[in-house]
């Protein structure tokens, strides 16, 4: 009890003292609010077209301007937060839990299971991540479920490897031996003794991965392999804006691009902050 209390107060102290973590927590809270309440906060329906005002630059009525069919860019950018974050969170959650399960059993039991798991992760990791995600979505078919699945598969090896490596180091430690002597079974040792010790590194990976997954989903949409128009989504908006940017309509690219960058940046910063938090040496 006192240990968890000191951890929480330590975390609070770090967040307040360190401007980086304070910034990342603030930005992620903002994104969470936009994702949860976005559709209720925006001034226009994101798909409402108004052909009388195509390509309107930012004005008082349309803060981020309007696109080729007069849709309000501000409303679309805000509403898109939910779908982009949801894809990323689902994908990363999937690879996080599956990765821990596979990595923990592989590292804990070793043997032929471990051999096959290592081979499979090697097979996934011989490709550049984005190329693999692209090929998987193309093979599975482009809908939201498959984008989530492809992103999850691409990220899976990171969690498998990390958990496996931690397990191999930890399972030889005295306290694990003690837990076994005290009569704990494999499952209990893994969940209650080993995993909590592996968690800090996994959390850092989780945060950085979330940023990457958002980037990945938006990139897939940008090249036409992701979520379909007219759904408001950052990657699609940039792709649609790209054809009009040469005509000088910069706001079609800048604003969705800016929010996308902000989202990725927040999660990368959070990863940094967690690294500071969990690093014993800075404590």
């Amino acid at each position: 009890m006192s240990r968890s209390f000191s951890f929480v107060s330590h975390a609070c102290a770090l967040v307040v003292r360190n401007p980086i973590s304070l910034g990342s927590v603030a930005m992620i809270s903002l994104l969470a609010i936009l994702a949860l309440f976005g559709p209720h906060l925006v001034p226009y329906d994101p798909n409402l077209t108004d052909l009388s005002i195509p390509f309107s630059p930012p004005t008082a009525g349309h803060w981020f301007g309007t696109d080729q069919v007069g849709r309000d860019v501000f409303s679309r950018v805000i509403v898109a937060t939910r779908i982009d974050l949801m894809v990323a969170i689902c994908a990363v959650a999937l690879s996080f839990f599956a990765g821990i399960l596979i990595g923990a059993s592989s590292g804990y039991y070793g043997g032929s299971l471990d051999l096959w798991v290592s081979r499979a992760t090697d097979m996934v990791q011989v490709f550049p991540l984005f190329v693999l995600a692209m090929a998987l979505v193309a093979a599975l078919g482009t809908d939201m479920r498959n984008i989530v699945l492809a992103t999850a598969i691409v990220n899976l090896p990171f969690y498998v490897r990390l958990t496996r490596a931690e397990m191999i180091i930890l399972r030889a430690q005295m306290f694990v031996e003690a837990a076994r002597v005290a009569g704990n079974g494999d499952g209990r040792i893994m969940c209650r003794v080993l995993l909590p010790n592996a968690l800090p590194n996994l959390m850092i990976q989780l945060s950085v991965n979330l940023g990457w997954a958002i980037l990945n989903a938006a990139s897939l949409s940008f090249i036409g392999l992701g979520i379909r128009p007219p759904t408001p989504e950052w990657g699609i908006m940039v792709a649609e804006g790209a054809t009009h940017v040469v005509a000088g309509n910069w706001w079609l690219v800048i604003f969705p691009g800016l929010l996308l960058t902000l989202a990725v940046f927040s999660f990368n910063l959070l990863g940094d902050a967690l690294r500071d938090l969990f690093d014993i040496r800075t404590r």
Binding site: R119, D122, M123, V124, V126, F127, P128, L129, F130, V131, L132, M134, A135, L136, A138, A139, L140, G141, G211, L215, A218, S219, F222, I223, G224, L225, G235, V238, A239, G241, A242, V245, V246, G248, W250, V253, I254, G257, L260, T261, L262, V264, F265, N268, L269, D272
Partner: protein, 339 residues
């Protein structure tokens, strides 16, 4: 010892190569979605058409049989034919590969040229505002999607300032191209002493390579910084300081030289990221490389080029990692021990 180390590394790459070919095969063949339906020529193919195409593609055989056929095809350099261009995939890819490699290599040079000095300065004055600024800049860089960075650069430098050429192709179409020797336009126009072509090619290359470089600056800067901090705390640096050597000698000759090795290992990750993002960058800049080619094929449901592209990407990555491993072994004898 060195030769046996290199041999061991080469042998270790063989199973990876095999795994690569198998997974490339699996991605396209086994996953749901029958390629024959895509390949059948009419928009609504009849059952006979599908059966015919399936037989022609060998899809009616068992999966292991298909794998063996695929592997022998790959071994003989046959990566299939592109349905959209009607030419062998290998020819198409080899023709476009130099464009992609030239872009990636120039981007890598730019990224290294900026990140190493930046990382070293951040390490020397760690904790200073300069250190924080370096960290912030590289964090923002890695968070900016390449397609957004690229479009912003095009808007500013081509549309507003007018100092960059239009984002299409590798060279101005009105300029005579140098004879193709290496496929790298910069090298070829240098060899042909065609200065006009050299300057045009360099101008076209500038924005896409900067776009890519910004994206990969972060891991390079961070690795340089942390490796450098580690080295600067070492005893031999303290000794060098005590002996009154100049700052330049301490930081560059003794510090940086020792810090560069861990940075080299990041090179594999960096190159992998670049190969992945080249699809996006080539699309934004109309760059005639393999990424843009594969993407167009993919959108046209033409799978042989996609399969070939994925394979080539994997082979490149294996080669890069092998080169890094071996150069690491040459530079640091301790790394030669088998792991």
């Amino acid at each position: 010892m060195l030769s046996s180390f290199i041999l061991r590394r080469l042998l270790a790459a063989a199973p990876t190569l095999l795994a690569l070919v198998v997974s490339t095969f699996l991605i396209i063949r086994v996953l749901p979605g029958d390629p024959a339906i895509f390949f059948a020529s009419s928009p609504v193919p009849t059952a006979e058409e599908i059966t015919y195409v399936r037989q022609k593609l060998g899809l009616d055989r068992s999966v292991p049989e298909q794998l063996v056929i695929y592997m022998s095809d790959v071994a003989s350099g046959d990566l299939g034919t592109s349905f959209t261009t009607g030419r062998p995939v290998l020819t198409e890819l080899l023709e476009r590969l130099p464009a992609s490699l030239e872009l990636a290599l120039v981007a890598l040079l730019l990224a290294v040229g900026v990140s190493i000095p930046l990382g070293v300065t951040a390490a020397i004055w760690s904790g200073s505002p300069l250190d924080h600024a370096a960290r912030a800049i590289s964090s923002i860089g890695v968070s900016m999607p390449t397609f957004v960075t690229g479009l912003i650069l095009i808007y500013v430098f081509f549309l507003q300032l007018g100092i960059a050429p239009e984002p299409v192709d590798r060279i101005d179409i009105f300029i005579a191209q140098p004879p193709r020797i290496s496929g790298f336009l910069l090298v070829d126009s240098l060899l042909a002493q065609n200065w006009e072509a050299l300057s045009s090619a360099a101008q076209r290359l500038a924005l896409p390579s900067i776009t890519m470089a910004i994206f990969v600056m972060s891991p390079l800067t961070r690795m340089t910084r942390s490796a450098m901090i580690g080295v600067l705390n070492a005893d031999f640096i303290r000794t060098a300081r005590a002996m009154g050597l100049s700052d330049w000698t301490i930081y560059v000759r003794y510090g940086l030289r020792n810090a560069l090795l861990p940075v080299l290992t990041t090179g594999g990750i960096v190159f992998s990221t670049m190969l992945g993002s080249n699809v996006l960058v080539e699309r934004v800049f109309g760059w005639p490389g393999i990424g843009g080619f594969a993407l167009n094929a993919l959108l046209a449901s033409d799978y042989a080029p996609v399969q070939g592209f994925v394979l080539v990407m994997g082979v490149l990555l294996i080669l890069i990692n092998l080169t890094i491993d071996i150069s690491y072994g040459i530079a640091d004898p301790r790394a030669r021990r088998s792991t």
